[in-house]
Amino acid sequence: MSKGTVSVEVKGLNVGYITDKGYTRVVRNANISIPEGKITGIVGESGSGKSTLANSLIGFINPPLFVESGSVIVDGKYDVLAMDPDQLNQVRGKIISYVPQAAQNSLNPIRKVKDTINDMLRGHGMDLSTNRESVLKTMEMVGLSDRQVLDMYPFQLSGGMRQRVIIAISLLLSPRIVVMDEPTTGLDVIVQYDILKLIKKLQKQMSLTIVFISHDIAMLFQISDYVAVMYGGQIVEYGEYSELLGNARHPYTYLMLNSVPTVSTLGRKLTKIPGEFEGFSNYPKGCVFSQRCPFATPQCRDSPPQAYSYAGVFFYKCSRYPEWRDQK
């Protein structure tokens, strides 16, 4: 990758949750440089820490979330984790905005769409009446050209339309970076397809930097330029999508890609990944994936691998690459 601008720089991030019994660290020593003007996908299963990481990017760090250490620098100058609520309000929506998880339920059910938009604009000292043109333009861009949508309540809209409304709201103030956390969960597979096409179109038209978080690795690879794979709170691999597809450096990436049934691989045998992630209270001593990795050696289980970088910003955390590829 050429040395483009870095949109979001995460350094040494350790975040966890306060529980009844103390504190559990979830995101462990995350370092990643998210490039500008591209779609970066972050994939991970439940318990991988991807949502915690997403929340940290926008500064949603209220208890029980707890930031132990590290920094998140947005757009080269905003230290999101150190800002107070007023400063954050200046940044959120304008520089970096957020499309939440299960977005269909994030719209206030007893307020019309236009009222929700008004609420959001007022939070930044603006108004729907004075910005009507730009709001309508944004709505058209997300495929909601029917102005009647503004006067509707969320329950009158389909899941796909609600998602489009949420996306429109996140784009109202023309942010440069958009963090999308599972924006297609719960949607019909065909509606999901439409939304993915929409996201791709918006990214090109508005030159957005998109951080796309999902557990669906197949979907993520269809749309992302760069992919970061998370497991057990760590980013175990980060690289260009085509590299990971053909020549994944980390066994987890490879195994995951080959465990998805696809239409183009009909009839092929799928790989199984034995075991499950044991949880953060039983964190392994060595490599976080070693308990389930079919290529693991005693050394893997003993000491955690360092991050091996290549092409400048890409990296992987496996001490057995490229040897394990001969074994598969």
């Binding site: 299963e45 439940s46 318990g47 495929g143 309540y153 329950f155 009158q156 899941g159 949607l187 019909d188 597979v189 065909i190 509606v191 999901q192 397809y193 439409d194 993915l196 096409k197 791709k200 179109k201 090109k204 557990h215 669906d216 690795i217 197949a218 979907m219 993520l220 690879f221 269809q222 749309i223 597809l245 195994l255 995951m256 890609l257 465990s259 998805v260 049934p261 696809t262 239409v263 183009s264 691989t265 009909l266 009839g267 799928l270 790989t271 199984k272 990944i273 499950e276 992630f277 389930r292």
Partner: protein, 269 residues
Amino acid sequence: MILELRHVYKDFVVRKGIFSNERRPGIWDVNMEINEGEIVGMVGGSGGGKTVIAWMIMGLLKPTSGEIIYHPMNADVVKMKGKQLREYRSNVQLVFQDPYSSLDPTHTVKWHVERPLRVSKYKGDLGTRVNELLREVALSPPEEYLNKYPFQLSGGQRQRVYLARVLALNPKVLIADEPVSNVDASIRVTLLDLFKYLRDERGISIMYITHDIATIGYVADRVYVMRLGRIVESGDVRKVITNPENEYTKLLVEAVPDPYRRIEEEGDY
């Protein structure tokens, strides 16, 4: 043939108020069959009526017209009640979609698997049978799981506990409604292979319901494609996926996520 749906219709009352825009599709002239020892897929987008059909098969909903014949008992599910319905339900069971709400948070794994045995008056050692069932769904060693509560288990484990619970009744047919969509990707294959095992080794017929046509391609033998309450295409799974005839089927095949097919920006829509 074990289970047969003949000309099943289901109408829904839609409230025509000021705000009403909700169109719930009626089920229209559905004819399906589930044979012994096969996995039949039902695939389609949401709102296509798949769950409604599943509930009608289970006797939780009554169709407006049509018959659902369970051949081993030579009876119509629609007309069953009381003792007959209970007997039917010990032979045909439902696997819910969401493993996070299908188990009671206040009871252990042991309780969940033991109850069906008690209710069906199992004559044998309960403890041994519970362990056997847990081993069958690949929750080994069983002792490790017996006293765990649902919140201590992952989605995949919960789904397997639920399967053990259902298998305790020795059903002949399983209706599985999106059983792996809320389960981590890395254990999905394990669960899918488990369904295949149940078909091959236990002779259980399975109706697998999902919106993901690629999963159907991996696990099912035949498939019905549903759209807005109607069957638009059916047949051998391989053929339907590689050579879809209906426009909707083609759309399903195109929309299913596939890491090897990039989505590039298309024109206006």
